[in-house]
Amino acid sequence: MAIIKNCKKIEPYFAPFVDGLLEEEETQLVQEHVEACPDCLARLALSRQARLLLLRLQEEDIVLPEGFQARLMQRIMTGDLATDVLDLSWQGLVTTLLQLLEVIFGMLLGPQPATAWQPA
């Protein structure tokens, strides 16, 4: 492959270079360019430093606030949201009616009610 002299053309290779995702030939293209271009070499170094620093954030264990799911389901079940998902066209109403009957028969005949909702 010919050396890429244009900085704008080589720039899209920098992020995958830093991430170690380039093929050998592409890696060589980047290396050849930065050997001849101190500005891009400096930018590449900055980019690599940024990546290393940002990876430190992965050490943080972001903990979801306790009771999140219960609060969410409460909001959904007690607001108008539950009815928002109803399809009010006649086809939708027929489908809904059939589903409702299925649930009722399921409750009457099956061991586990299909409508039960328990907060996680």
Partner: protein, 204 residues
Amino acid sequence: MSSFAELSDAALVRRCQETLPYDARPFEALVKRYREQVFAIAYRMMGEAQEAEDQTQEVFIKVYRSIKRFRGEAAFSTWIYRIAVNTCLDALSKQQRRPQRVEADIAEAEEAQYPIRTAARAEPTPEQAALRRELIECIRDTMMALRDRERLILTLRDVQGMEYRQIADVLNVRIGAVKMRIHRARLAFQQAFARMCREYLPTS
């Protein structure tokens, strides 16, 4: 719930489409599967836990409302991350339109209420642990000083570790654009870090 946990995303989505609003268990299983990742993205974007929880709730409410219309053109994970990204960007742009709150005390109180734990590693000394905490704090502050879209792409790639392809799908842009944006956002981050966290720069 255990049987739902074994189902694929696509199967759970189908169940939601068939049974909502009467049976919320498949939806709950989806929430359980994605709540941590969505909260992590929201936390990185919003910068505080209470705001992140609010936005995470908004994301799942939007998913609940529109899951019946989800046709599976993209993977469910891509769809939900796209909703998360847009919800956070919208919230941030609303925040910028209203007067900025200067309430460090509130942020501090929230931090106490929602402690963000640092994952345990090989027993650092108390000094090392303190230094690491300070460095991470500084990296976090630098992230918050970036433009929303710079912070977003760095969150998706360097913090959440998403593949380029998935980032392109979530942001609905070409993969070449993703590579450029990541590189430029990293440069912006490093310049801001040099300004804000001078003490952590290597001495030449």
